[in-house]
């Protein structure tokens, strides 16, 4: 390492560091955000207190946090699963849109099916649509080695415009063309009551069905990654594509299937948006929510562990909920993304620091020739 800092890899990370570093990282992020708040004329303590109240303790706040956490749980799993193999599917946003398109079509077409069957069909409809959309960058990546980060991202915009076209600029099947108001303000057709997913009500708290489904999915993915041949091969492809080729793993198929599963998960986020919450295809609402991009934040903070995604989705869901609840002059919406960014910086940095030993370079070392520096660092 060149420069004033000396960075060495630790042979093994002590257990207490694995807990202390993330906690310290989040504390540091809170301090940095606090400084930003102070600099822009807000009181950090009272802002944090308001946020806590708006996302946890206030009337209906916790239910509302789960409303935001549910889509993030799916998009977080979408990113975590793909990133685990170092296929960077940034397309969760567009795959969610397509999932919503697919699920609302399913819900409208099969409206007279019995409720349980209809709900299952909507989940599958959304998953298939998201899967198909993710297959485009997946095939390009697998067979042409096209950068999947950029292609999957570009398709987010394409999916967004497609959704707008369906509702605002065409007489599509999704658009409501019969109610008088809909001719002034274009909206989608509202799904029938049996297409609405049941939540679990505990007192005043409502647990969305989608969240339960997401937790089940997280457990399934953890099992898939850690305890199956499929998951083992995924990890080999991610760590060393060459080793994967030598050992006979079909890398190309693996890339396509992992991206497709990842897209399918984001598609279910779209199903849940329709079935759990919106009951109508609302392009503007879905686009403003940015759940797909937030999923990347969730996955990165969870260090791509599916179970950790469940916890982090609640954390970021709470932050987003507080952002919308407090939205106004004293709490601009931009603060949510700003805080997400700062938390990412400190947690990503902290995670590395936990694996490396950092020290100031000794003066004597800095003045020795390059080869001597290497030797010194190898010894120390």
């Amino acid at each position: 390492m060149i420069g004033p800092l000396r960075v060495e890899r630790r042979l093994d990370t002590p257990g207490w560091l694995k807990v202390a570093v993330p906690l310290a990282s989040i504390l540091l992020a809170a301090i940095i955000t606090g400084i930003l708040l102070l600099a822009t004329g807000h009181n950090p303590i009272s802002t944090y207190h308001q946020m806590y109240s708006a996302s946890v303790t206030a009337d209906g706040a916790l239910s509302s946090t789960f409303v935001y956490a549910t889509p993030m749980l799916f998009t977080g799993l979408c990113a975590a699963f793909a990133f685990r193999m170092r296929t960077y599917n940034i397309g969760g946003e567009g795959q969610l849109y397509m999932g919503a398109v697919g699920a609302s079509a399913t819900g409208l077409v099969l409206g007279d099916w019995p409720r349980p069957l209809l709900i299952i069909a909507m989940v599958i409809g959304g998953a298939l649509a998201g899967m198909l959309w993710a297959t485009i960058p997946a095939l390009l990546r697998a067979y042409l080695r096209t950068n999947e980060i950029l292609t999957s991202l570009m398709l987010n915009y394409v999916a967004g415009f497609f959704m707008y076209y369906l509702i605002y600029d065409s007489d599509s099947y999704w658009r409501d063309l019969t109610t008088p108001g809909a001719s002034v303000f274009p909206t989608g057709k509202t799904l029938g009551p049996s297409a609405s997913w049941p939540g679990i009500t505990i007192g005043s708290f409502v647990l969305p069905m989608g969240f339960v489904l997401g937790v089940g999915l997280a457990v399934g993915l953890l099992f898939l990654i850690q305890s199956t041949r499929y998951g083992f091969e995924m990890r080999v492809v991610g760590d060393s594509p060459q080793a994967a080729n030598y050992s006979g793993i079909r890398t190309k198929r693996k890339i396509v299937s992992v991206m497709a599963i990842s897209g399918g998960i984001a598609g279910i986020a779209g199903s849940s948006q329709i079935g759990d919450f919106g009951h109508v295809l609302d392009p503007r609402g879905l686009e403003q929510a940015q759940y797909g991009y937030t999923g990347i934040v969730v996955a990165a903070l969870a260090l791509y562990n599916p179970l950790a995604v469940v916890i982090v989705s609640l954390l970021i869901g709470g932050l987003t909920n507080a952002g919308f609840a407090l939205e106004g002059p004293s709490f601009p919406t931009g603060l949510v993304g700003t805080m997400e960014g700062i938390i990412l910086f400190t947690v990503l940095g902290g995670e590395i620091l936990a694996r490396y030993r950092i020290g100031l370079r000794h003066r004597a070392v800095a003045s020795t020739p390059a080869s001597a520096v290497t030797a010194t660092e190898a010894v120390s």
Binding site: M1, I2, G3, L5, V7, E8, T40, G41, F83, Y88, I90, P137, L140, L144, R145, T146, N147, I149, L150, T151, L153, M154, L155, Y157, V158, F161, F162, Y164, Y165, D169, S170, Q290, Y293, T294, I296, V297, A300, P329, P332, T333, G334, L335, G337, T338, E340, G341, I342, L344, F345, L348, G349, I352, L353, Y356, I358, A370, V373, T374, E377, A378
Partner: protein, 320 residues
Amino acid sequence: MNSNVVLAVVVSAIAFGTPLVLAGLGELLAERSGVLNLGVEGMMLMGAVTAFCVSQKMHGAAGLILFLAILASMLAGGAMALIHAFLTITIRVNQIVSGLAITIFGGIIGLSSYLGQVWNIGGVAGRHQFNNIDLLGLKNLPILGPLLFNQDAFVYASWVLVVAVMYYLYRTRPGLYLRAVGENPAAADAMGINVTGYRYTHTLLGGAFAGLGGAYFTLALAPIWTDGLTAGMGWIAIALVIFAFWRPDLLVLGAYLFGVFSALGPTLQTRNITVLPSEFYSALPFLMTVIALAAASTSWANRRIGTPASLGIPYTREEG
């Protein structure tokens, strides 16, 4: 479609292409040093919001204010790049994830939106902007006049920058060293080139260029601030570097080609020519990017490609 419409599309393609040229050049420099910066979109938005703030809040001569606004945008982009450089070069965070974090931090629901609200500059028309300059009095030449001699100072500056970057890369010693750092940092290090220094410098430069590209929106293209106004141009700039094979000359051509795709919709719309739904034209630049990226990764193109060999890989002396 008559020739008037074609000319109108091409002329506004230069305007739409200019932020791509600027941000793309910056990304090219950073990637040539081996640092992939996916934070361009966030850096552009930060450049756009700070430039607009300076142009709205400062008082004085218009020229001076515009100059300070540009400076502010470059500083904002550079400051964002400093975060990326520290995270990826010094403590070796994954470049892809760090870049995405930068875009979320600065992006549409991030710091640029926050600052826009704190500074209270949203939704009002700009007080100052770059106007078209009749260069050499030749703006009335047929076709070439409006294309080459009736642009704003930003556009002329971007042409100068392209030539400067080409000269720097291919004709100067630091440019040679830069390419060496990107291709083989261990060899460059053995030669005594300061790898960390080169990577920091060019990542920061890349951020400053991205900030400048953002400032083009609020100081020239459409002087107004709305959240997320760059609308994906930062991402297209990153893609441009790939299918320009990391060459500034091809980058300019690509930027104007994508300017055409971006200009098509608005130009046809103002003239009430509707052949396809407007959403198709809006999606066109993104669809074309996917196609261009796929074309650039075919085996024909791969033989010509100039990907810096160390792109995305942190350099560590003891492990390299």
